[in-house]
């Protein structure tokens, strides 16, 4: 009798395996806190409290496939004048001193060295994503990057896998013709 039950396990197990394949790489909200950056730059303060628009720093987002990382000069544009409060700040659970962090930026500027930021959102090299087209189409940055204005340390909100892209492409096609081109492999892979 035990043998008989075991036999039934075969189909059940295979269903699990299939489901595993299916769900393992579905989009799951990343609970990852994101990498610790060389400077504890808080998007929450800049984009949230100070209401600085994304494009102020990521200025090429509507003219280039790359959004652009602000130059140190751009940081210093403000931080020449703003030295920051000498207060402790709860940065995703780590206590930092705002002034000390800004001092780091000034250090980089003084040494004329770039800040080696760590990439949070990345795509494999065989995917050619064009920021410009998406921004021009009127998508908000938050659609993919999440509510950055509410994050101190930026973390990945969406896994940018193909399912993520294609779901959005399918939902947003305005016509059949557009759907064809949005689901055309060569749109992104070349």
């Amino acid at each position: 009798m035990r043998r008989r039950i075991k036999l039934l396990l075969v189909p059940v197990l295979s269903i699990f395996v299939f489901a595993g394949f299916y769900f393992s790489d579905r989009n799951a909200e990343s609970s990852d806190k994101g990498p610790v950056q060389p400077v504890r730059f808080s998007h929450k303060i800049h984009a949230g409290e100070d209401q600085i628009p994304c494009q102020y720093c990521h200025s090429f987002v509507d003219v280039s496939p790359n959004p652009g990382i602000p130059s140190v000069q751009r940081c210093m544009g403000c931080h020449t004048h703003i030295a920051g409060r000498d207060v402790d700040y709860d940065f995703n659970g780590t206590t930092i001193n705002i002034q000390a962090e800004i001092a780091k930026v000034r250090d980089f500027w003084a040494k004329k060295e770039p800040i080696p930021w760590i990439k949070v959102n990345s795509m494999p090299g065989y995917v050619h994503f064009n920021h410009k087209r998406h921004i021009k189409r009127g998508f908000d940055c938050a659609v993919c990057h999440g509510d950055v204005a509410d994050m101190d340390q930026v973390h990945r909100v969406n896994r940018f896998n193909m399912g993520f892209c294609i779901t959005c492409h399918t939902e947003n096609a305005r016509s059949h013709e557009e759907l064809t081109s949005l689901k055309d492999c060569l749109t992104c892979h070349y």
């Binding site: 043998r3 394949f21 989009n27 896998n161 193909m162």
Partner: protein, 445 residues
């Protein structure tokens, strides 16, 4: 057919189960080197994965070579097993009885071996599962228009069905072993494998019915699988591949090569385990006749290919076949003709058909010839496509040789394990050709 024999039901059990006795030194002397060669094959494969497929001898425009040759060869070997067990079962050809278990085992192991090659030959074998349709976040499926996907379906269906067929056929025999062995671990294992078989009339009722259906499924399947394999080539537009004759030609070739392998395998087993009473000369006679038939079909196909190429006046087609017989690979072509068409001719004589040594030698030649047939079809055709500027010669690398060798060892490894663990001759079915024990001598029959 009932023949003069000293066999009784009990002796059948006795003889077959005796084969499963403790491994002898001789067996180990075979098994250990076999394992070593499998290991070498594995090493070659890992080396190839590490360096890239360039470790194999492929070169533009020959993108398929020894691996696909091996694949087709092993699938072909598999075929005669199913033929003997299923097709001849439906035809009630009793000469199959003593050898069908061995052929069936051969089928399963050959498919198991063949199934490795499509993975080995992939550029990125770690993505082999992309060839199966499974739901994924990309929302991508596979291309059912591709003959390779047909292959995936055909070969995996074949493997599944022939394994099931193999296993189901063995259930009563495993029960017999279970009833005989005494050592605890073996008893447990055979008990599990026998699925509690008792041989009641109720079990036999469903069993015979199901077995018939399996045979009925396996018969079209065996024809379809090699047809599908042949369509891997015939669906392409390459001169030398693109012909309608390929499906029957391949099926016949497969059976031809498989019969060769059955003879190659059974002759030593018969000798070693003294199974002369089971595998009789009559059995070999029947096999040899099938060899003649399939050899004729294969030979006819070789001729027709040539004729059609000439008759079509297509420069690419004729160029291909002219090249096969005269070009750089001509030696392989003539090996193929020699082994597959000329070597089987002596089988027309009964004395040769009943001469075990002669049969064995002929069968070896058939194996070689059929391997080269696949090599010729694949490699020579690819070497000379439509565009003369791209023509090139393929040279086999040591990695491919190693893996091919490994595949033979892999196959024999399973076979050696099988010989020592499972009944190599069908106990239940052997009894069918023996007289049923009756109190009154002249019963019904």
């Amino acid at each position: 057919m009932s023949q003069q024999t000293s066999l009784t039901y009990a002796k059948v059990n006795e003889d077959v189960i005796r084969m499963l006795d403790k491994p002898t030194v001789k067996w180990l002397a075979l098994f250990v080197p076999t394992l070593g060669i499998v290991g070498f094959g594995l090493f070659c494969f890992l080396y190839q994965v590490y360096t890239g497929l360039g470790a194999a001898g492929y070169r533009h425009p020959v993108y398929w070579g020894v691996y696909i040759t091996d694949f087709v060869f092993w699938v072909g070997i598999a075929h005669s097993g199913t033929l003997i067990s299923a097709v001849l079962y439906l035809f009630r050809a009793s000469f199959r009885l003593s050898i069908y278990r061995i052929s069936e085992a051969m089928t399963v192991f050959a498919v198991l071996t063949a199934g490795l090659f499509p993975i080995i030959h992939l550029g990125r074998p770690w993505f082999f599962y992309w060839l199966f349709p499974y739901p994924n976040q990309r929302e991508l499926w596979i291309n059912f228009k591709s003959p390779l996907v047909w292959d995936v379906f055909a070969v995996s269906t074949y493997l599944t069905v022939s394994s099931v067929f193999f296993f189901v056929g063995m259930i009563p025999d495993i029960a017999a072993i279970r009833d005989r062995v005494t050592e605890k671990p073996r008893k447990i294992i055979y008990s599990i494998l026998s699925l509690g078989w008792k041989g009641s009339n109720w079990e036999w009722l469903h069993y015979t019915r199901a077995y018939l259906f399996f045979a009925a499924f396996a018969t079209p399947l065996v024809l379809s699988v090699h047809s599908v394999v042949s369509w891997d080539f015939a669906m392409a537009n390459l001169p030398g591949w693109h012909t309608t004759i390929f499906a029957p030609y391949f099926v016949a070739g497969a059976i031809f090569s498989g019969l060769g392998m059955v003879i190659t395998l059974t002759v030593p087993i018969r000798k070693i385990f003294s199974l002369e009473e089971y595998i009789t000369l009559d059995n070999y006679d029947g096999l040899a006749k099938l060899v003649i038939v399939t050899s004729l079909i294969v030979g006819y196909a070789y001729g027709v290919e040539f004729f059609m190429a000439w008759y079509s006046s297509n420069p690419a087609e004729w160029g291909q076949f002219y090249y096969r017989a005269t070009g750089e690979y001509a030696l392989f072509y003539w090996i193929m003709i020699f082994c597959n068409v000329l070597i089987p001719i002596p089988l027309w004589f009964k004395s040769v058909r009943r001469n075990i040594k002669a049969l064995f030698i002929i069968s070896i030649f058939i194996n070689i010839g059929m391997w080269f047939e696949r090599f010729n079809i694949i490699v020579i055709s690819l070497s000379r496509g439509f565009d003369p500027a791209s023509w090139g010669i393929y040279k086999v690398s040591w990695v491919e040789m190693g893996i091919t060798l490994g595949s033979f060892a892999w196959f024999f490894m399973f076979f050696l394990i099988f010989i020592k663990t499972l009944p190599a001759v069908s106990i239940a079915e052997m009894k069918e050709i023996l007289p049923v024990p009756r109190k009154e001598a002249n019963g019904h029959e």
